[in-house]
């Protein structure tokens, strides 16, 4: 393991400290926690708070999206480990303005349970809390009888749409309706060239040969659905876009937002080329995304790979929300 770190046990607190102190005009750390909230308190007055969080290792997610117009707070767990309820609760309490708090949770059993316990704690304190569980990753089969799908990079779009609405004064009810309406329209799928190395583990979550890739990986080195030889970018796009199309039935009469997301160790050079191929192949279907972002947004530490998210903009207000001005570290 070759990393610029100190003691692997200190990775999360040191990282949180470095981030908050680098951007003091945007972020504040809740004392004695790994929860971060907006420094711009005025921008939260009278608004519903939005709190997201999860394991660390996905930087700039989650704290990178805290700021005016987007999240009110974010909670950092240990690397790839859901934060604990007390930490989540600290964030909820710090951002609540009497209008309630909305939680954005990714669909992992740990996250769901810890956020639920935090919700219980907040409700005992008379803070009204609602939540959405994001499950945009289409790599795994969905079923009522299982955990369901994972929450991955598409969560960023959920943050953005909810953040804009909250800033504009949406109520907790409004946000819950909005989140439920947005949820089925966001789909993501990924390909990895290498797995992530958790500092405390010291070795990659799985091994890929020098010429191997894996389709359908998650953001915690969870194995994907198929391993095969590396292929040109164009063909990777064909595979991933094909899966999204099967799921979403892409339609030239509809509007889409697109996110090309680097997993941490993949340079922008490759991401832009992948975006070029995706835009070409969408164009062949007579689709030009109304909104596009390319970059490292929901990473998996130092995994090499890319995820592709499409978001069907079923409501024109969602496009406006994506373009809504924000003051964050990373959007």
């Amino acid at each position: 393991m070759k990393k610029i770190i100190n003691d692997p046990h200190d990775v999360v607190p040191e990282m949180v400290d470095g981030l908050v102190r680098s951007y003091p005009s945007i972020l504040e750390q809740v004392p004695d926690t790994l929860a971060m909230v907006r420094a711009d308190k005025d921008s939260m007055k009278g608004k519903v708070g939005i709190v997201s969080g999860g394991g660390s290792g996905h930087e700039p997610t989650h704290a990178g999206f805290v700021g005016k117009g987007m999240l009110s707070g974010a909670v950092a767990g240990q690397v790839f480990t859901s934060p604990t309820p007390d930490q989540i609760y600290a964030a909820i309490k710090a951002v609540d303005q009497g209008k309630g708090v909305f939680l954005v949770v990714k669909n992992y059993s740990g996250d769901v349970m810890n956020f639920d316990m935090a919700k219980d704690m907040a409700e005992m304190d008379d803070i009204e809390v609602r939540r959405i569980v994001v499950d945009d990753d289409i790599a795994v089969k969905d079923s009522l009888y299982t955990q369901g799908r994972r929450g991955v990079a598409g969560t960023i779009f959920m943050h953005k749409v909810l953040g804009a609405a909250a800033q504009e004064g949406a109520s907790l009810d409004d946000l819950e309706k909005l989140a439920n309406a947005v949820l089925p329209n966001i789909k993501t799928i990924a390909v990895a060239l290498s797995a992530a190395t958790v500092p405390e583990a010291g070795k990659p979550g799985f091994e890929l040969a020098e010429d191997e890739i894996e389709f359908g990986v998650g953001i915690h080195s969870e194995p994907g659905y198929r391993r095969e030889k590396l292929r040109p970018s164009k063909e990777l796009v064909e595979e991933l876009l094909g899966k999204l199309d099967d799921e979403m039935h892409l339609d030239p009469n509809k509007q889409y937002a697109m996110l090309v997301n680097g997993m941490g160790a993949t340079p922008l050079m490759e991401q832009y080329i992948f975006a070029h191929d995706t835009l070409d192949q969408l164009k062949a279907k007579n689709i030009t995304p109304a909104f596009t972002k390319v970059g490292n947004y929901m990473t998996s530490i130092d995994m090499a790979g890319i995820s592709l998210t499409l978001f069907e903009l079923a409501d024109p207000a969602w496009l406006k929300a994506l373009n809504y001005p924000v003051e964050t570290v990373a959007w």
Partner: protein, 194 residues
């Protein structure tokens, strides 16, 4: 019967087993999870022994509640809320009872409620359900523990991270079942509980 003393001894023994096997637990969590179960549990039991060490002459409820709070606030992930809820429910039940069966039933009910898993989902529930029954039948042995843990190998996961793998989760021991196995082993090794 649980007492403050034997419960503390039980948890101390459990902590030792987790610390000794942390790497193994994370290894089990690698093919079907995210390789952190050993780290998560080790962080938890360190917090538990530290917190218990600070209590002077506590009662059983305090021991159990302190354990629950330490686990809830230190472990995170899936196992934190599950183990935490188990001990929280034991603490609640310990207000009115201290017999092994009642308290372990409460713990199991807490795990089931918190995680929504049932037998056959390839989670720690698959170890807790048969072993609590064995405890109540007065017949718990290390072989039964081993068998219950091993049996999770053949199951296809329906809950937790391993469920994303579908069929490919078969053939691997569930890490949370293994850590639960240690908890039951420690129960056998602690005099006066069973």
């Amino acid at each position: 019967m649980f007492t403050a003393e034997n419960t503390t001894a039980w948890l101390t023994n459990f902590a030792g087993k987790i610390e000794a096997n942390a790497a193994y637990l994370s290894d089990l969590d690698t093919p079907i999870g995210d390789a952190d179960h050993g780290n998560n549990m080790a962080r938890g039991v360190t917090a538990v022994t530290e917190a218990l060490g600070k209590l002077s002459d506590p009662d059983l409820v305090t021991v159990l509640k302190t354990t629950a709070m330490a686990l809830i606030s230190k472990v995170g992930g899936a196992s934190g809320p599950l183990y935490g809820t188990a001990f929280l429910e034991m603490a609640k039940a310990a207000k009115d009872a201290n017999d092994t069966a009642t308290l372990l039933d409460a713990a199991l009910a807490g795990i089931e409620k918190r995680g929504g898993a049932t037998t056959g989902d390839k989670t720690m529930v698959d170890v807790w359900v048969p072993l609590v029954a064995d405890v109540k039948a007065g017949s718990l042995t290390k072989d039964q523990i081993k068998a219950a843990v091993e049996a999770t190998k053949d199951i296809e996961a329906k809950k937790g991270r391993a469920s994303y793998l579908g069929e490919r989760s078969v053939g691997h021991i569930d890490p949370g079942s293994q850590s639960s196995g240690y908890l039951f082993e420690a129960l056998i090794e602690t005099e006066g509980i069973l």
